[in-house]
């Protein structure tokens, strides 16, 4: 029997550019051409001013640990508990859910406000997932 897999995202027309980006090793965000608001998750208009003139850009991939839980039970398919489910605040402003890699999954190691940088985890030939690791230096 195959191992249960972690949930795979399925892109929509509005989010395809984001998943194309992660596949190419880029974290892509959107910025409103009218009011400069940077937002996430993807959509083809600005949720702040409603302008449809928006641009996709490559984000710095830097951020900090905003909050998290360390999940013990029940564990999602494809995960070995305990594992942290984190929310990262990106340098550009938006926050996103993620996992923290290359770091013990403990309250001692996972300090709020610690600096993080993006990494990409290849799930299959279509999807790479943005995750974060402690920033170097």
């Amino acid at each position: 029997m195959a191992e249960p897999q972690r949930a795979r995202p399925k892109p929509t027309p509005e989010t395809q550019h984001f998943w194309d980006g992660t596949k190419a090793g880029e974290l892509r965000l959107q910025r409103c051409d009218a009011c400069a608001h940077v937002y996430f998750p993807p959509r083809p208009f600005c949720p702040s001013c409603a302008s449809r003139k928006v641009s996709v850009f490559k984000a710095s991939g830097k951020g900090f640990l905003y909050s998290y839980v360390i999940n013990h039970r029940p564990a999602a398919p494809g995960f070995t508990p305990p594992y942290a489910i984190a929310v990262v605040e990106l340098a550009e402003g938006p926050r996103m859910m993620s996992n923290i890699v290359d770091c013990p999954q403990t309250p001692e190691a996972l300090e709020l406000d610690m600096k993080l940088e993006v990494a990409f985890q290849e799930l299959d030939d279509k999807i790479s997932l943005p995750v974060f690791r402690p920033a170097k230096g």
């Binding site: 949930a7 929509t12 905003y66 494809g78 984190a86 859910m97 996992n99 997932l129």
Partner: protein, 379 residues
Amino acid sequence: MRKNQVAVVGAAETTELGVIPNASQLQLHADAALNAIADAGLKLSDIDGFATAVETPQQVCHYLGIKPTWVDGTSVGGCSFMLHVRHAAAAIEAGLCKTVLITHAESGKSMIGKQPRFTPADSLNGQFEAPYGVYGPPSMFPIPVLRFMKTYGITHEQLASVAVVQREWAAKNPRAMMKDPITVTDVLNSRMIAYPFRLLQCCLVTDGGGALILTSADRARDFPRKPVYIMGTGESVETPMVSQMETFNSSRAFKTAGPLAFKEAGIAHKDVDHLMIYDAFAHLPLFGLGDLGFMPYEETGKFIADGNTRPGGKLPLNTNGGGLSYMHSGMYGMYALQESVRQMRGIAPAQVPNAKISVCHGVGGMFAASGTIVFTNER
């Protein structure tokens, strides 16, 4: 909306609460509805307005044999029933219907006739949260807690005291699932579920249901029970993705719904005799106390740990034992409303003496939605 124009004239829970292996979710709706109709001294044919969540109005109306002229299927999670009360009050005032039945039921434990919750892989939650291992409310709802604790200096012991105090209330309630006393140490030694929360800081999972009947305040005088008036109401939604909340230091939906209800009721915090804050997890009462404006967020943990919300305290909170100790079917808002109504009728198992104003505050999803109702027994 004008205050005290609409009243609750019927209120009841399912005949049993807890583990109910002999009834489907739909039958639990009917059981609660029939109990509420008996409580109000009405016939099914008297109901001309109907609201429910998760199950559709057509499903429950057909099963019960109700022919409504007004329906509301607002389904925003566990506080849907607070929103139903608000919408029903507006509909009755507008003359769209006269007598509204609101039902909730959930076979949350036995899972009989209940659709499993499912997150499509191409939804925003499916793309941007599910791949990171969220798996049910315990892995999602507590995500803001560590940030809230750091911002306001809230301690693990204070968050544990929420469960301790609510168990004290539950001990007074024969229908509560969990009645044995617990200590802060017990809470902090209970099984880890999703750090920082342990088993005793997470809600129960049970079967049950409840129903309310509302009509105009003028008609309410002719009913057998003491009317409980709708004094003020508020509602809002924020986001289905906990990661996308504006901040983890408060809930925007709470901060919208709560003050709206207080303003409509024309009351100040010192007027509140009894308070329900939907406690799916132990942090919700702290968010609620802060977001509803009872005190600065920094003081919420200490306020509860110091015993101010326990039996005999100055602000009785979650007096049925709450979702942590009374019951939690999955959408607990109906049970919070039932306890507010019991308190206003003066018949609660742990009755707050001379309570005249009760505030009932609900959450839906993981801070996704909110509804607040202010009740009074004086017109």
